[in-house]
Symmetry: C2
Subunit: 255 residues, 2 copies
């Protein structure tokens, strides 16, 4: 274990930059924080690149997960450094650096998938991934213009679901074609009422479910190649549902 005492330390400066997508892409690394996420990483048997924490926080992790604090790439930091690295107001003073390790390709020949088409809010994307995990889906595909899942807000909203299910960045047209080739139906969730009501849809064993942008919905190009279009009926006077809530209702309908 090495002790770091300044926010100007080279490693700390580099790690703080991982809050930005550019630096995550340059280095292939990302930063997670807080006991729950780090617990999930240990449960998933991931090898960390670096582990950093205040004395109390490191001791807790060492006890809970049999980490040898004399090992390499473990850093004792002070609360000023923790505050500097954290993306939350109240840091839990424990951080882990991990390698970005998403599969580049996937056959899409089986299972239940959520496809995110230009979902732009980091919290929404993370919450939808968490819901897909809870509902027992196999994975989530993000279109190239969707939010980056290594964004700290997305990480926080996922609550560790990135360690449980497949998360893949891919062109949605290619994914939908692959699902279709394997006779897996693909439904597009729509904002407009010309689509079919959700409750008319029977449960299916395998499925692609497209969730669109918060404001604009699924793009015309994608909606056009889906087998069915569905929507959640609004029965009261609200204009719409919160995007993550709407996705949750649809995902659980098919759980």
């Amino acid at each position: 274990m090495e002790q770091l005492s300044s926010v100007n330390n080279k490693l700390i400066k580099d790690l703080a930059k991982l809050k930005q997508k550019k630096y995550r892409e340059d280095t292939g690394l990302y930063l997670i924080e807080g006991f729950h996420l780090i617990e999930e990483a240990f449960k998933a048997n991931l090898n960390f690149v670096d582990l950093l924490g205040t004395e109390q926080a490191l001791n807790q992790v060492a006890e809970d997960y049999q980490v040898d604090l004399d090992g390499k790439n473990i850093y004792l930091i002070n609360s000023a450094i923790a505050h500097h690295l954290s993306s939350t107001k109240n840091s839990q003073n424990i951080f882990m650096v991990l390698k970005i390790a998403q599969p580049k390709q996937y056959p899409f020949n089986f299972g239940k998938w959520v496809l995110l088409d230009n979902v732009s809010d980091p919290g929404n994307a993370g919450t939808i991934i968490r819901t897909a995990d809870a509902a027992g889906f196999d994975g989530v595909v993000l279109s190239p213009n969707s939010v980056d899942i290594y964004n700290p807000k997305t990480q926080r909203a996922m609550q560790g679901s990135q360690f449980h299910i497949n998360i893949i960045n891919a062109d949605l047209v290619e994914v939908i074609n692959a699902l279709n080739d394997n006779a897996i139906p693909v439904y597009s969730s729509m904002l407009d009422k010309t689509a079919k009501q959700l409750q008319e849809f029977a449960k299916v064993a395998q499925l692609g479910l497209v969730i669109g942008n918060e404001a604009h919905g699924v793009s015309d190009e994608i909606a056009a190649i889906c087998d069915e279009k569905l929507y959640i009926p609004i029965k009261g006077q609200a204009e719409s549902l919160n995007a993550a809530v709407a996705a949750g209702i649809i995902i659980y309908h098919f759980a």
Copy 2:
């Protein structure tokens, strides 16, 4: 229309204090901001106490809602004042002060109700109220220890649903007893798996649906007097669902 040019103006200082619950209770007033919420207030035919905006914002409201800008209690403000009053990073430069006008009592002899038992996150409470509105529920009851709906974050998450459905602060034991007296079943949503799975529940015409605290669920006292306990099965490895998503899935099951 009167022009105000300083954040130290007495009225502006008073209105900025309305972000705090204490001052809302002292004055019986609350502040809303942004075009969507103010549009909803006009649609609901509410009389505003004050209307404040920059020239451009006031002109837009005047055009859309036939507001006479020469009328009383309309104030032209600059963007420094707008920034001071706003609870968001990017203010839309339009504000309205309204009277708090919740019914003190309600007979609870009819309809579908969501009962919030110690829901503490302002965004969650607002999102749940918005979902209840979208699902055609008659109203939402908040226990005394739940969040204050006039909190700016709750207002934002509700998206105007407070103008569409009944929102009542009341003791939940009394409300549940009243619902029971009227033969309306009351279900409690639980975090534990000893309860009955959601999909086993048939749709019902009238209902009380208790949603509990984000971390601790429904209190024992309340759960004990409910007719049934229900939970959403977690099929994957996620430990739980986001609280507002979970409430949304349950509410729409009974929509």
